[in-house]
Amino acid sequence: MSNRAKFETVIGLEVHVELNTKTKIFCSCKNEFGAEPNTYICPNCLGLPGSLPVFNGEVLHHAIKAGLALGCSIAQKSKFDRKNYYYPDLPKAYQISQFDMPIAVNGRIDIVFRDGQKKRIGITRLHMEEDAGKLIHLTATGQIADAQQSLVDYNRGGVPLAEIVSEPDMRTPEEAYLYLTTIKSIMKYINVSDCNMEEGSLRCDANVSIRPWGQEKFGTKVEIKNMNSFKNVQKALEYEVDRQTRMTESGEAIVQETRLWDTAKGKTFSMRSKEGSHDYRYFPEPDLPPLEISNSYIETIAKELPELPLAKAERFVAEYGIPAYDAGVLTADLATARWYEKAAKLSGEPKQCSNWIMGDMMAKMNEAGIEEISDTKITPENLSGMIKLIKDGTISGKIAKQVFEEMFANGGDAAKIVKDKGLVQITDAGAIEKAVEAVIAANAKAVDEIKGGKVNGIGFLVGQVMKQTGGKANPQMVNELLRKKISG
């Protein structure tokens, strides 16, 4: 970034994660995305007079599990509070949240850069709260600002949320991106949320400021909302850092405000909010008894925690000798990590497995728009079988690419594909010699040049032999034979 020379960027993130319990946090309506508007509603989540909230115990379980996975201390005493504000997506005119006694505090996660370097980001707190309803803005022009009316859908109202607040520890938009993807990865590993940003089950607000290098005091912070994808978070922050830098350099003061990211325009714009709208007048929720968390309950949940992504990545590096970057990619998603580890063990070739997944597999998945490795037609057994065929010389690496393509398109056992398509490598010296002689005869000029010292011309001849044999000749044997024939 252009501002690097003069200013240091400071970013803190507030991440809202929808917990994947079966029911809402304070009533027994179904917690499910995508139903027809206002299908999962009841007097409680509509805020009708006389209804009372009853806390879903599974939300507490998920929140403690998430807190532990983020390295937090779990509170022994916790309670809910009312956060008061008027907005049509909040039918009670207050949100039940947690103010001064959140369920988890003082955590940390490590983010890993592409080069394997790590950085620790502090987690200030994690608290439980209810989600608001969803607003659909009716606008003729497609611009939110031009909306005259809105439709409210309360299916999401009362869905349990964990709000995770980071310390202002991030210094670049890239770090913010890595922090977010790490949070997602951890939440998915521990199975408390599916963290789908496009469906809104993970949402993120960012606080951004800049300050001259060496200055301790933070600059005026701006809050950015409405970033609806991981890439957009990075883009919005890059834009905002740039905007604040330009303003500061031209002597303008940064205004503390909330800005919305506009994906289409690639800009943030000011969301003018009415004065006093942030005076939430929190007070203890009188309808919900406080929580006292026993150590034994915390310990029970701690035992449920699986090996987390970073620990798994580090184990993969140590155990399978793969690069840290590859290990990071392979462990970002639990299904991929399990898939890889199975193939690595079956084939006994962990590095080869990693190379095939990182290379051909991911390229093909991208092409086909497949996100989860388990949704492809290839199984760990298939990949392992193919790698074994390369290892024992049955097929060359080049033919393997063909086999892989077939497996990706239609699935199936590598050995059977090789047999059915006649792809077995030619290792018969006689057959190879015949092809080599034919190529030498047809390329007299190239042969002369090689003899004259243009040694790298040999690659061209190898290619010709491979072409003649349909790629099936053992390339090493071809190479050796060619050299012998030409020099001899």
């Binding site: 009841c42 007097p43 115990g57 049509p88 809105s150 439709l151 919900l288 008894p289 406080p290 006292e292």
Partner: protein
């Protein structure tokens, strides 16, 4: 007076309440009296008293995560001023 008329008007605005001149006058006095009483309580020594967050002797009240039927949206829609595409239609709010 511990609170001013301006405070009362501000709070009324936050709560979206329309109040008359006379009410503003009356609430300023009433709320001041309440706060003055709270101030008196604050003078008590509470060093050895645990803070109260809840007035009944209850804790850890939870329910099982089991879905129960929601209500028929049509029953709610009849009470709503305006409905469109199964949504509650409200005025522009941005």
């Amino acid at each position: 007076m511990v609170i001013t008329r301006k405070d009362v008007e501000y709070i009324a605005h936050l709560s979206r309440l329309e109040i008359t001149e006379q009410e503003a006058e009356q609430y300023t006095k009433e709320l001041s009296d309440i706060l003055e009483h709270i101030n008196r309580l604050s003078k008590l020594n509470t060093d050895n008293v645990e803070p109260t967050y809840f007035t009944m002797d209850m804790k850890n009240v939870t329910r099982s995560d089991v879905v129960k039927p929601s209500i028929d949206k049509q029953k709610v829609f009849v009470a709503a001023p305006s409905i469109e595409n199964n949504g509650f239609k409200v005025p522009k709010i941005i």
